[in-house]
């Protein structure tokens, strides 16, 4: 009985899933460190927040390139 089958769509979905691991950890670490920085020195909160958004943009771009790869890999 066929329980699972490797197809193009399945491989593409797996590709995206593995590709979303790194950015998940990265964004979590980044926001955690920036919250800690804002708590240590509240008067620097504005600058830390702007740099946090910048960092999130760079890291999230990798996850989204993976998302685009999913659509390219579909049949």
């Amino acid at each position: 009985m066929l329980l699972a089958e490797i197809t193009d769509t399945g491989l593409a979905a797996l590709t995206y899933g593995i590709g979303a691991l790194g950015p998940g950890i990265g964004i979590g670490y980044l926001v955690g460190q920036s919250v800690q920085a804002m708590a240590r020195q509240p008067e620097a909160a504005g600058m830390v927040r702007t740099t946090m958004f910048l960092g999130i943009a760079f890291v999230e771009a990798l996850a989204l390139i993976g998302f685009v790869v999913f659509f390219l890999g579909q049949a």
């Binding site: 958004f53 910048l54 999130i56 943009a57 771009a61 989204l64 685009v68």
Partner: protein
């Protein structure tokens, strides 16, 4: 099991022309969104141009918006004289924000950035602007030396570093700039359509309709999330434009 059929992706991204069909100037929903967003952006520039010293009403709105860009984005990211780039950043931010916000407006419900044409051309325009700003500031040869040779690198490592810097600065930057905006908006659109299709098919189901509050709550939550994402993606695009222009044109030594 549920006999759910998700519509093929072309149904939610390719819209039929509603005027001037079968000509190269055919107008569809995406065109209408572009025109409306451009109209609102031009409105901000026009309304801020009135000369009352103490602004009131709509002029106040336009001035607050421009101050948000100038203090929040331009002053934060640019060491060079930033005032000449504020009009570009304002136009970019508000145009992208208005094309994104049409995702949640009831009749349209389509983010125009989910078709790759808009992010492609905006990223290309920003690419040309920061290369031009860098060449104007350093001279052609000085610009490439500034971008490709980081300070304090031993000369023996340069054959490795320079190709990496070429790929990272001149190829990956505009590509990632474009893909970030495009994929975020497309993903949000697909998410909203998924929950809506699920709600619609559960509405006409037999007893599965008891699960109906879940996708409806999902749609409500994701509409709120999409408002945040629309603003954030426009903000990040404009922020990165400022950062790229700064990295190209600044004299740091």
């Amino acid at each position: 099991m549920f006999a759910l059929h998700f519509p093929p992706l072309t149904h939610i991204t390719h819209w039929p022309d509603f005027a001037l069909k079968n000509t190269p100037f055919g107008m569809n929903k995406i065109f209408l969104i572009y025109m409306l967003a451009a109209l609102f952006t031009i409105l901000i520039f026009v309304l801020g141009n009135k000369k009352r010293m103490v602004p009131t009403g709509l002029q106040n709105l336009a001035e607050v918006s421009v101050e948000f860009i100038e203090d929040g984005i331009a002053r934060e990211t640019m060491d060079i004289e930033y005032k000449r780039y504020v009009p570009l950043l304002t136009a970019l931010f508000f145009f992208i924000f208005f094309t994104n916000i049409f995702e949640i407006i009831p009749v349209f419900q389509m983010p125009a950035s989910a078709r790759i044409a808009l992010p492609l051309f905006l990223a290309l325009a920003v690419y040309l602007v920061w290369i031009g700003a860098g060449i104007a500031s350093h001279g052609p040869l000085g610009f490439f030396k500034h971008m490709l040779i980081p300070p304090g690198v031993p000369v023996g490592l340069l054959p490795i570093i320079v190709p990496i810097e070429i790929v990272s600065n001149f190829l990956v930057r505009p590509f990632s700039h474009m893909v970030r905006l495009f994929a975020n908006l497309l993903a949000g659109h697909i998410l909203l359509v998924t929950f809506t299709v699920l709600s619609a098919s559960l509405w006409t189901a037999k007893w599965y309709a008891v699960f109906l509050p879940l996708p409806v709550f999902g749609v409500i939550f994701f509409v709120a999330f999409e408002i945040l994402v629309s603003f954030l993606q426009a903000y990040v695009f404009t922020l990165l434009t400022g950062v790229y222009i700064n990295s190209a044109a600044s004299h740091e030594h």
